[in-house]
Symmetry: C2
DNA sequence: CTCCTAGGTTTATTTCTTCAACTCAGCAGC
DNA sequence: GCTGCTGAGTTGAAGAAATAAACCTAGGAG
């Protein structure tokens, strides 16, 4: 029953535990909802790649960091990439895979929420800005996350949404509302 | 060697634990990063209000549900509201506060990510749609989360962002990037 | 030959989850 | 007025996970 890939426990994508509803939010949380996972991804998005870098930035215990990196690699969020400093042996660093980059909106949303309700009295410690690409204007403006529907209505307020069943819907509970 | 800042981070809620960096993401996760919190908020956004409703939908143990609801109420994400069914004693139900509604973008982002990478073979089980308001067109189109900068550039890809220090920035680690 | 360093393991202790059983207050039926 | 039922929780034991700290390992430097 153990799906162990390289270390002790795994239960990453096959959790069976925290997936009481057939919902992608639950499945996403099964992968990145563990205690340090999103913070690791955040640091990776900010450029961290090496074990010690994550460790120093986050203050996480090394065994937990190792376990979380294993989970994230197994889930395809990060890749384990060998490198070799001149005059040193081969080691590994951890790069974000596409899946990891795609967590950016989630993290921006969380950051925004935290800034709004839990900010430091001095203000936010981090601002996400628009990095100008080659042909783009050099805007550097702060970035926010907005909800937009396929018809083009944008900046929808949270109340303007509702959940509708999709093709994979499965109603297992008694009270469906 | 441990960089963990000794005792300066009690000001927010009761975190104490997962706030190694002065960052709103970490603080947000201290509030809603516990194992069931976001799922509870999701159900609340979908209309759940009563203890038993959350319990039936999520399959969570009742003591944990009670504990999480307490945490969410203490953090201001939900409100505990008395109600009384005719011919029954007073009980409490749990309504989302504004803070809770503002988690919607985070949940949509997570849903989108889960749909992209972990979806059911049959497709997503839930689609978030635009609910038409009174004066609005009845669009009902699916909703996505997009990144938009203050200069109006919208649908930014994840790579187009970078983290810049804000007013409350505090650099405690060695490598700042 | 020993020390240093990055990148981890191992181990012991504390804390959190889970599951199951139990409480509590009011109502309904007998 | 006693029994049982229901929704909303508490309590307690057992297992899993988090934490902290010590330990290991492979190569290079002194």
């Amino acid at each position: 029953m153990e799906i162990v890939n390289s270390g002790r426990y795994d239960r990453s994508v096959e959790t069976q535990r925290i997936d009481p509803v057939n919902c992608s939010v639950a499945r996403a949380l099964a992968v990145v909802g563990e205690r340090w996972s999103l913070l690791i991804v955040r640091e990776a998005l900010d450029g961290a790649r090496r074990f010690g870098e994550f460790r120093a930035r986050l203050g996480i215990a090394s065994n937990l960091l190792a376990a979380r990196l294993d989970t994230l690699v197994a889930a395809g969020v990060m890749r384990r990439v060998p490198y070799q400093e001149p005059g040193d042996r081969q080691r590994f660093e951890y790069h974000l895979a596409e899946q990891g980059h795609d967590l950016r909106p989630t993290l921006v949303a969380l950051l925004e929420w935290g800034d709004k309700y839990l900010a430091d009295p001095e203000g936010p410690s981090v601002i996400v800005r628009h990095r100008p690409a080659d042909d783009d204007t050099a805007c550097e403006e702060p970035v926010r996350v907005v909800l937009e529907c396929a018809a083009g209505h944008t900046r929808l307020p949270p109340e303007a949404l509702y959940r509708a069943p999709g093709p994979g819907a499965r109603f297992l509970g008694p009270a469906e509302a």
